[in-house]
Amino acid sequence: MFAYLVKRVFQAIAVMFVISLIAFAIQGNLGDPLRELVGQSVSEEVRQQLREELGLNDSFLQQYLRFAGNALQGDLGTSYFFKEPALDVILKKLPATLELVFGATLIIIGLSVPLGVYTAIKPNALLSKIIMGLSIVGISIPVFLTAILMIFVFSVELGWLPSFGRGDIVPVWGYWETNFLTADGWAHIILPSIALASIMLPLFVRLIRAEMMEVLQSEYVRYATAKGIRPWRIYFVHALKNTLLPVITVGGVQIGTMVAYTILTETVFQWPGMGFMFLEAVNRVDTPLIVAYLIVVGFIFVVTNTIVDLIYGLVNPTVNIARMGA
């Protein structure tokens, strides 16, 4: 177990190293820190002196080491626009994004398992066919379009739900303010969560259905029937547990995709999260913020993937974690 853990962590560090290299390369080539600091009306002499002071004339390696060293201490530079440490800017926006992802995840898990299992157990039922038909339509509608169409129907035409922002939020701890404690907060998070879930949900329904149907054909399910086990136990204990193993793996990859989709969802709903902030930073060429976002998102990806791998190893008895590390 320990060796496996070490191996996974080592791999995660390697990936973070590559990400930091990319981030550093972007920082070095994007925008001119001098102009951001002092404007253009400064003599060449002063500029040279500043360059020297900022270490911009050092070798690539020196500059990278300084960058990485600062990054490890949580210093990812100062946002040109907000005039604040970039990491702070992102951490303030992080809870909004996490709550959105959380809302969408709830919808996905809550619906995909029952729908996937049902359509696998009763593949020929009318309801199954309707669910499968809707799922392929769902996959075919881009997230941003789902969001726009929902705004059009529920906000513009019907006026039932708000179309932008987070509404009433309540501070919980540190930078974290939550949507889940006020009715207005709930009203604001419903549409964005559905939009974010809209492409993942059908994907998961189809995945669970396909895996489940394969498992239901397996010899051990037939054997369980031959032992006189009740159908619900066969479906939910024998079959579902085997179904979820591949689903966890795919799910881990999809978490990353979901972070990307938050950029789209947040843009449409003007949700004040990291994704919306990132796009603004791009438009303002706020290099430190872009770089910081890259590193934070890369970190989130690496951590979730590592955790998912570890969970997979724990859930699946046929993966011998102790041996995998060797």
């Binding site: 397996s218 037939r222 006189g228 086990i229 085997n242 699946n316 046929t318």
Partner: protein, 331 residues
């Protein structure tokens, strides 16, 4: 009264563009505690017979007609609930490949306990105690530890012993074993067979042993059915069938046994292959491979009828008896 009585069982498979008949009007009986072998090449319908007895055919197969009376009740007509109370309880099944039979994500203990609790009101602890007793009966060392293990941690032979223990959990009246040793190492095969024989005899359990191995049948069973292309072509006491087979196909099977061949001589195989279910020839299904085939054999399906000690489905069986077998002539 017989424990099991199968009457005119016909099983069909609904394929995309046609329906094929996998079992054609099969009838046989099994007395309490009796051990019956079902022999034939793969595709003859042995396994389908086994699954039909539990009404466990999976699509596209289905029981088209016939009766399967188990203890007087027709399995074919039973409700799902009634079937559940029979399966694993009064009638247990041992599957072919122990590597894929047990659920990989559940422990041995979970899979044994759930079987007991599906049929009897027992606490988990009581069920575990029964499971331990049964694991001892199949000579599994330190059964308490095995209960906590997952299937992949055990060898194939060990797993098949556990499956036998699961079959015995509820003291069934009948065990159906579908090629229980084909997937195992040759060295373990004999052990497992011996174990099954011992347990069936001591517990007075009926056994239907499905196999392609006549040698195994002769050790294990009292009566034998020989199947070919979805029909029973010969049945009778195992001793008669082994010592004095009547059907040319059964004769061919026995002549093909390695024990029947002198060292250094070639094995005497039956020429040709069994027809696929979609292309069964008219008349006796065996006629293209039969050296005695006549025009009658090519046009009429032989009925099974008593001949000497056995029942046999062959038009030419009378002639075969009067003529000495050809192999002996040549030898």
């Amino acid at each position: 009264m017989s424990l099991l009585s199968v009457r005119d069982l016909t099983v069909k498979f609904a394929m995309r563009d046609q329906t094929v008949t996998a079992l054609n009007s099969i009838s046989f009986d099994l007395a309490k505690g009796e051990r019956l072998g079902i022999v034939g090449e793969s595709g003859a319908g042995k396994s389908i017979t086994g699954f039909s007895l539990m009404n466990l055919l999976s699509r596209p197969g289905y029981i088209d007609s016939g009766q399967i009376l188990f203890d007087g009740q027709d399995v074919v007509q039973m409700s799902e609930k009634a079937l559940r109370s029979v399966r694993g309880n009064r009638m247990a099944m041992i599957f072919q490949d122990p590597m894929v039979t047990l659920n990989p994500v559940l422990t041995i203990g979970q899979q044994m306990v759930e079987t007991l609790r599906a049929h009897r009101k027992l606490s988990v602890e009581e069920a575990r105690q029964i499971a331990i007793v049964k694991l001892r009966e199949v000579y599994i060392p330190s059964p308490e530890e095995r209960l906590e293990q997952y299937p992949h941690e055990l060898s194939g032979g060990m797993r098949q012993r556990i499956i036998i223990a699961i079959a015995l959990l509820l003291d069934p009246q009948l065990i159906i074993a579908d090629e229980p040793t084909t997937a195992l190492d040759v060295t373990i095969q004999a052990d497992i067979m011996e174990l099954m024989l011992e347990l069936c005899q001591s517990n007075q359990v009926g056994l239907i042993l499905i196999t392609h191995d006549l040698g195994v049948v002769s050790q294990m069973t009292e009566r034998t059915l020989v199947m070919y292309a979805g029909r029973i072509i010969e049945s009778g006491s195992t001793r008669s069938i082994i010592n004095d087979p009547q059907h040319p196909y059964t004769q061919g099977l026995i002549n093909a046994l390695p024990q029947q061949t002198l060292p250094g001589h070639q094995l005497r195989q039956i020429p040709g292959n069994m027809p696929t279910l979609a292309q069964v020839p008219p008349g006796c299904a065996f006629n293209p491979r039969c050296e005695f085939a006549t025009d009658t054999c090519r046009s009429q399906i032989p009925k099974i009828s008593q001949y000497g000690d056995v029942e046999v489905a062959c038009h030419e069986v009378h002639r075969l008896q009067t003529e000495p077998a050809r192999e002996e002539e040549q030898a």
